[in-house]
């Protein structure tokens, strides 16, 4: 038993049981010795009565003090015997307002819930616990960078997420300079995942990974002859355009890429751009990394303008209910990877827990993010350190994580990206039909 404040207190007041008994015995003896007691009916003068009352009160107060001291000493003893738990802060820099907020809030909940589930863990004999701190990036590079500066320099945080390819680019210089371990959701491809960014890990399938994985399947299964891309005007949209052009050039399978257009993220009227694209008569519109609301508006407005083909949103999951609320029957024909129509059991369990806790449906980014913190903890335990992010990065890259909700997950991309910083796990492809998603197929997303 560790000697500390508890022992001192215990010594001062005697052993716990003996102290209390001593006081009680004295109080009872004193009370009985008065014969008449506090509730006597005999006539006494008030001064004597008051003197007796004050004596009883003193005994009672002394008794309560002794109990308090005993309790405190017991608790202090217990506390003194436990290892202190050091906190590892995790900076969650995500959009908590605006269009990207559903993803950001979902990620915040996933990190917090998985950290709570992990609880206290040991690394090299010491106790640690993750605590998640949220920063609202507003899906804006300047706000994200400002938040990251604050997290790193003011709060000394070494781990976290900067969500979104569109804004991560602005933060990578700081991430590199400080060795901040970034494990996050961001699309785009080689632009943000390459040997230059050693501590940068992508927690979701990359746009190119998905485009490559399903390229031939989609065009063949759905008989697509002409495809156009309509993507957000940022790194994500442009990266998808580059990969699509590369695939069409290097793996031609009879489908023509007829046009590429970009839109500003906050627009709601897509009529002009869609008018231009639909004049090229595509069978499919690849909407790149459009968020759910934009996807719904694009589908609705494209159908109003007479488009009858498919939509394919490879780089961002599209939630069913919100897109149906916006587009209604126009949402039929939206193809989305990373949406499980028939989810694995672990995903169902998470969905049920999420619904019970948050009173709303889980969105797909939640299970994808859930594995991050326990995976990092595993790497820390293997490496034996918590604050050497470069060592943690090297270690985690070689660890498979068997408890990922989708199945066994690992890091891949050594050949394609030049470094193993891309997560790989079983990946579904689903299509919206008659108001709900139907699963088309499941493929591994591992790439060399």
């Amino acid at each position: 038993m560790k000697q500390g404040k508890g022992k001192v207190l215990t010594d001062v007041v005697g052993s716990n049981g003996r102290t209390v008994t001593l006081f009680l015995r004295k109080a009872i003896n004193y009370f009985l010795a008065t014969k008449e007691g506090m509730f006597s009916n005999s006539v006494e003068n008030n001064a004597v009565k008051e003197a007796k009352m004050s004596k009883y009160l003193s005994v009672f107060v002394a008794f309560m003090l002794a109990v308090s001291v005993w309790f405190a000493s017991t608790v202090a003893c217990q506390g003194a015997t436990e290892e202190p738990v050091k906190v590892i802060k995790f900076a969650n820099i995500v959009p908590l307002s605006g269009g990207g907020a559903p993803w950001g809030v979902s990620a915040s909940r996933a990190f917090r819930d998985s950290a709570a589930e992990l609880g206290v863990f040991k690394v090299a004999g010491k106790n640690y616990q993750f605590t998640v701190i949220d920063y609202d990036s507003k899906y804006n590079a300047a706000d994200a960078l400002s938040a990251l500066n604050r997290a790193v320099y003011s709060e000394n945080i070494l781990y976290g997420q900067v969500m979104g390819a569109g804004i991560l680019g602005a933060c990578l210089s700081l991430i590199n300079r400080t060795g901040f371990f970034n494990i996050s959701m961001f699309a785009a491809g080689k632009l943000l995942t390459n040997p230059n960014y050693f501590t940068n890990f992508r927690l979701m399938p990359s746009s190119d990974q998905i485009l490559i994985a399903f390229y031939e399947d989609i065009y063949r299964d759905f008989k697509i002859k002409r495809v156009a891309l309509l993507g957000p005007h940022d790194d994500m949209g442009k990266s998808d355009a580059e990969v699509l052009q590369m695939l069409h050039k290097e793996k031609p399978i009879g489908t023509e890429l007829v046009g590429i257009e970009y839109y500003q993220r906050d627009i709601t009227s897509f009529y002009p751009i869609l008018t231009k694209l639909l004049a090229l008569k595509p069978d499919m519109i690849n909407t790149s990394a459009s968020p759910t609301a934009s996807m719904g508006l694009i589908a609705k407005q494209a159908r109003e303008l007479g488009f009858k083909g498919y939509f394919y949103n490879p780089s961002a999951p599209v939630e069913a209910k919100p897109v149906l609320d916006i587009a209604g029957a126009s949402a039929d024909g939206i193809l989305v990877p990373r949406v499980w129509a028939n989810p694995p059991k672990k995903v169902e369990d998470l969905a049920n827990r999420y619904k019970a806790k948050y009173k709303e449906d889980m969105i797909n980014t939640y299970p994808e993010v859930y594995a991050a913190i326990p995976w990092i903890a595993l790497a820390m335990q293997k490496a034996g350190v918590v604050d050497d992010t470069k060592l943690i990065s090297r270690t985690i890259a070689d660890i498979k994580y068997p408890n990922h909700p989708y199945g066994e997950a690992e890091w891949c991309g050594e050949k394609y990206f030049g470094i193993k910083r891309q997560v790989a796990y079983p990946l579904p492809l689903s299509i919206m039909k008659n108001g709900k998603y139907e699963q088309v197929k499941v493929k591994s997303s591992f790439i060399e």
């Binding site: 009529y271 751009i273 109003e304 916006i326």
Partner: protein, 286 residues
């Protein structure tokens, strides 16, 4: 090519008429009360969220929801005028700070009350109509139609009624109007209320067309500013012209040059107007 151009013009006209409603309220506030209301777009946002609340959450039909939004804009306008604008009338810096603060307050309340997820209002007139070979939704046609009626109504109020005469008198010289017996405080409150009704109804009309969240007001404020500067501060006709010009230019340039350039082109027009004709294209007083 011609079909694309016609498509851009048609979309621009319909969208522009809705923009005009927001801009008209702002121009009236400025011309009569000399208030630059940065929070005007938030009233547009409240209108959209209001119709969502009445139509989707409370189950009222759309027409009733629209009416409720218009009615509630009146006391809102009166309260804002009395509590925020009247104390800072004539004091520029305080007025700017107050209206920016009001923007942040309304936005914050909107995010808190309605949440972060985009909301949608069911279509009131599903389906499309083809006009000279170009499709456009019935919803947009309806919104444009209501906007035309409201603009006509505003013209009537301003030029054919006693209240409108009082507004024009205040706009010329508030002190002289007061001496002539115009209750300037009452006219201010009515003026702000009318402006708020127009902005709120504009938001309510666009709710079934687009998505609704507490962040849509900022874009509306920006576009309203562009319109009143291009069209002319204090001119209803200028506002209508400015609104149509901005929307058509945005739409046509997006089709032919790409959406990345469409805002830039509108801003280029703004700069040209500011330099060549600072009072705006039709910058006469109402």
């Amino acid at each position: 090519m011609l079909e694309l151009l016609w498509s851009g013009i048609l979309d621009g006209v319909v969208t522009g008429l809705i923009y005009v409603l927001v801009a008209l309220g702002m121009t009236m506030l400025y011309s009569i009360l000399h208030i630059v209301n940065f929070a005007h777009g938030e009233v547009y946002m409240l209108g959209a969220l209001g119709v969502f609340a009445f139509n989707v959450l409370l189950g009222l039909n759309f027409a009733l929801a629209l009416l409720m939004v218009a009615i509630l804009a009146i006391p809102l306008g009166m309260i804002v005028e009395r509590v925020v604008f009247r104390p800072v009338r004539g004091k520029w810096i305080q007025m700017v700070v107050a209206s920016v603060g009001l923007t942040l307050i309304i936005q914050g309340i909107g995010w808190k009350v309605f949440g972060i997820v985009d909301k949608s209002v069911p279509s009131i007139f599903p389906g499309v109509v083809r006009i000279l070979g170009v499709s456009i939704s019935w919803e947009r046609i309806f919104a444009a139609g209501v906007a035309i009626v409201l603009v006509a109504g505003l013209y009537f109020v301003v030029y054919q009624t006693k209240i409108g005469r009082a507004m024009r008198a205040m706009e010329q010289d508030a002190d002289a109007a007061r001496i002539q017996g115009v209750n300037t405080d009452k006219i201010s409150a009515i003026n702000v209320s009318i402006g708020f009704i127009l902005a709120a109804v504009a938001g309510a009309l666009t709710a079934p067309i687009f998505v609704v969240n507490a962040g849509i007001g900022l874009n509306a404020t920006l576009i309203a500013f562009m319109i009143i500067i291009i069209g002319g501060l204090g001119s209803i006709t200028g506002c209508v012209l400015g609104g149509l010009l901005v929307a058509i230019l945005q739409s046509v340039s997006a089709i032919f040059l790409g959406s990345e350039l469409s805002y830039g082109i509108v801003f280029a027009l703004l700069i040209v107007v500011i330099i060549a004709r600072p009072s705006g294209l039709l910058g006469s007083k109402i």
